[in-house]
Amino acid sequence: MKRPATILLLPSVTILGAFFVLPLIWILILSFLGSSPTGEVVGEFTLGNYARFLTDSYYLTDLLWRTIRLAAVATLFSVLVGYVGALLIVRADPAAQRWMILLVMLPLWVNLVVRTLALMVVLGRTGPLNQLLVGLGIADRPLQLLYNETAVVIGMIQVAVPFVVMAIYGVLQSIPRQLEHAAMTVGATPLAAFRRVTLPLSVPGILAGSVLAFGINIESFVVPILLGGGRVRFMSVAAYETATVSNNLPFAATIGIILLVVAMALLGLYQWAVRSAGRAAPALQAG
């Protein structure tokens, strides 16, 4: 390795090492320790925390599976919404594009709690959405839109979409428009041209966007607390409450480590699946 490169890397490595890697290692160690009834960490190796989590259907289905499921559903919708948004931006004229990108980024400058509280107003009993539904005669009385899984999913979509748009926008921009035009000159309908040319070429953007969205959603914390009404249990919230209410730091660490490992495994699996599907697709089309 060249010396200047090493020196330039030093600050980021130091910061990441001291404030991210080391605490993470400590959390990992903590997850294998016990906790006394009054909350002291007991310095003896144990697998008890993992056994407690992995042998209890409450932790496995009500907590872990719910977290994965909601994060996955939210990711799917984030990618759908984000893709349409990115496509619209790419197809707009360059001057408008800059403004549209700015609009997409704008929510990121507002604190997440504030954004989620705003969403509570929108989804509330007397909120604009319910007024619209009742006004249009779609519902005869205000619906319960808040404090359930749907509300949490909507909240997570709202958080993830800007990231998805940016990821897909970058890739779509690099695909020459002429490719689609060429497809259409040889008889493809606009839809077929999109489906057979643009969509496959934008897979890296979808991949990047969905990985980002899933990563953000699965560690969601503010959204399930505010929009879940105390009934939508989430891994990150459970870890927090295990530390601050139950005062069992090792078990809280265990929940955190399981969330981390599962998220990484799922993302790895997902990337592998999409990549291998991408390799298989051209062969199918040729045949």
């Binding site: 009054t38 409450y58 009404g229 249990r233 295990t242 209410v245 139950s246």
Partner: protein, 331 residues
């Protein structure tokens, strides 16, 4: 990092003259209006003792962590964290020779040698008088099937632990036999649509008519009325649930005696009155003249507060929290 920033802030704040003799006392408190109320008369204490009092916002797990790291001299807590800190050896025994005001307190305030309750809040039943009639008189009214779906309480917090223990006691159990309590709370869980997590959220639920009855704090009901939501507040016949603020002197810190004096200051007549006038909490000190302050006060009020045996509860909290999620919250 925080230490460095604090050090810079301090070196900027301390003037050369003060540098010569001023000692510093670091007090962890709940922050916001609570800290403001304690601060109100602190200048006198600082002058009398030649000390600068610095307040840091910390409570619960954070407060105890700061105490264990010996970063603060005095911490505020609730019953659960008080007993955890005591068990972990974080606190000094309060010295009655310095904390002379201890003798002026109601017996309920002196729950342990390692800390003291400075004031009490009252949890009762907040209700919408247009929807709930007759007015609730018992905690069991929350279970009334007539209001199913329109009642609420918070998550697994201290007051719900008190309610859980009360339900156990009313059904033949106790802190040591909590099963009857969970059976009863599970019934309540079925009638609850939303477990509230913040006060403004509950205010909104009342305002929209989604909730007509809730376990809530007296001071918060007054606040809700000021926001234009008409609410009644009932003290159930079993007793109001006590919300307590405890204070503790952290072990092995240089200014132990000053820290004790600070606790004594919090128990002084002036400070105790401020808890009532500025925060709406019931003082722990007996014999105060609170005319003109609309706060429940007196031997009967403090004596009737429901405060369970937290020394027995604390070691079971991890297991109870898990049961709460499984039996009360889950549908």
């Amino acid at each position: 990092m925080k230490g460095i920033l604090a050090a810079i802030a301090l070196s900027l704040a301390v003037t050369p003259a003060a540098l010569a003799q001023t000692k510093e006392l670091v007090v962890a408190a709940f922050g916001g209006a609570y800290t403001d109320a304690i601060k109100k008369n602190v200048a006198t204490f600082e002058k009398e003792n030649g000390v600068t009092v610095t307040f840091v916002p910390a409570s619960g797990a954070d407060g105890l962590a700061k105490a264990m790291a010996r970063e603060v001299d005095v911490i505020h807590a609730d019953m659960a964290w008080a007993y955890r800190g005591e068990a972990q050896g974080a606190f000094e025994k309060l010295d009655p020779a310095i904390v002379t005001n201890l003798s002026t307190l109601y017996p309920k305030a002196r729950f342990s040698d390692y800390g003291v309750v400075t004031n009490f809040g009252q949890y009762g039943i907040a209700y919408n008088p247009k929807e709930v009639s007759p007015a609730p008189t018992s905690w069991l009214d929350l279970w009334d099937p007539q209001y199913a779906g329109a009642v609420t309480t918070a998550g697994f917090d201290a007051a719900n632990i008190e309610l859980l223990v009360l339900m156990a006691k009313l059904n033949g159990g106790s802190e040591d036999n909590i099963d009857p309590g969970f059976a009863k709370m599970a019934e309540l869980g079925k009638q609850i649509t939303v477990f509230y997590s913040q006060h403004p959220q509950l205010l909104d639920l009342f305002r929209n008519g989604e909730v007509v009855m809730a376990r809530w704090l007296r001071g918060r009901v007054d606040w809700a009325r000021k926001q234009g939501v008409e609410l009644g507040f009932a003290v159930p016949k079993e007793g109001a649930i006590g919300l307590v603020s405890t204070v503790h002197v952290v072990k092995d810190r240089p200014n132990k005696e000053l820290a004790m004096k600070f606790v004594n200051y919090l128990l002084s007549e002036t400070s105790q009155k401020t808890y009532a006038s500025d925060l709406g909490y019931t003082p722990a000190r007996a014999g105060l003249d609170l005319t003109g302050i609309d706060v429940p006060y007196g031997e009967d009020v403090v004596g009737s507060l429901l405060i369970a045996d937290w020394k027995k509860i604390v070691p079971q909290m991890d297991a109870w929290k898990e049961r709460w999620e499984k039996e009360v919250v889950a549908r």
